[in-house]
Symmetry: C2
Subunit: 221 residues, 2 copies
């Protein structure tokens, strides 16, 4: 993966917020629970789906039902654009115009490759399960061959990717700073509530630590 | 807005989760802080941007800098696909295959119209400010004519839109229910931290109630 931009990944707007740092891109993709996948349907135009993803090295995996029409369109090397976005806070400036968000986002361009190798299928299934809930991959029953046959797994190389980040307080234009209006940042964070056991859960199965004490991958706190 | 699907908005995969109910679509769009906008660049293929949006009646607004290349491409009636997604919880089944998410998402198809009418610009600026932080629209300095000139505001009619929702516990296949693996839902929620006043904030300006007691639009709790 190149640590420099391609034509498509070049951050033009607020270039100071752009980054092509591989570790940063990995971190954002790992922490973001879901991504959005865009592609162009020859008949219907631009299409967009939210989905779970997982990263293994410099490869991003997304998966869906083989019976689903959208994923079928992607299977044959279609051009895709994938974005993962984490909102860290509202940036409330005195002027509406200078309002912003603190965020970390990654955009990936590439062509989807259908995964058929059994070892890669296994590794990606573990990675996706771990992405959702780190630790779950050691607990959940992994897919059977029949389940793999029903699933379309796509791999996108992280060759054309960029991150964009905004942090810090609002930046009002000079005349606005004197206005008697509160300005600052309201941090936002995703938290988990109490685990809700399935109604059909057998007695005596305790909530696993990785659920009770859930953390996103890559988050230290 | 039609309460029935078009060819593009028809939910094919898990149709029981699909809805074309106007109020539900409005509620999800209002609660979701950001959306992702996809379009097709004639040269670069599918493109995708996370952005703030706001809804006024049956119109969805997104905005960006007029200097930004992506938004310019959308101005002339380009076909867009917009998704807003709220993740409500992780659905941890015994089998990795049956893992899922509880979520509410809306997908909108349409063509973007550039807003130039001064009254509509004003109304949309208030709506976007209110979407970010309800109450802020009565406090922040609204845009000047010059600021409006620098901003590209796009309107997309909510004519082709669908919602998709999943709620409830995991649904494992019968043989898996007996496995000694915890199964259930881990609810997720976005919460706000303590407001962080801007370093250049003048003394004596209190944190407004709508910041200290922040709530997303449409949320009662």
């Amino acid at each position: 993966m190149a640590d420099s931009p391609s034509e498509r990944t070049q951050v033009h707007r607020h270039p100071e917020r752009g980054s092509y740092d591989r570790e940063l891109i990995h971190r954002v993709l790992d922490e973001a629970l879901i991504c959005h996948v865009a592609w162009t349907d020859p008949d219907a135009g631009p299409r967009l789906l939210p989905t779970i993803h997982a990263r293994v090295g410099d490869t991003l995996y997304v998966h869906g039902s083989r019976a689903g029409r959208p994923w079928r369109a992607l299977r044959d090397g279609a051009n895709v654009c994938i974005a993962a976005t984490i909102v860290d806070g509202l940036v409330l400036a005195r002027s509406a115009f200078s309002h912003s968000m603190n965020y970390r986002s990654v955009v990936v361009f590439g062509r989807a490759r259908e995964v058929t190798d059994p070892d890669e299928l296994q590794a990606a299934a573990r990675a996706i399960t771990s992405h959702v809930a780190p630790g779950r991959e050691n607990d959940a029953r992994m897919p059977t061959d029949e389940e793999f046959r029903q699933t379309l797994l796509l791999a996108i190389p992280l060759e054309e990717a960029s991150a964009k980040i905004r942090t810090g307080p609002p930046i009002d234009h000079e005349p606005d700073v004197a206005l008697p209006i509160w300005a600052g940042v309201l941090p936002l964070e995703t938290v988990h509530g109490s685990p809700e056991p399935s109604p059909d859960l057998a007695d005596g199965i305790a909530v696993p630590g990785y659920v009770a004490d859930y953390r996103r991958p890559g988050i230290d706190h």
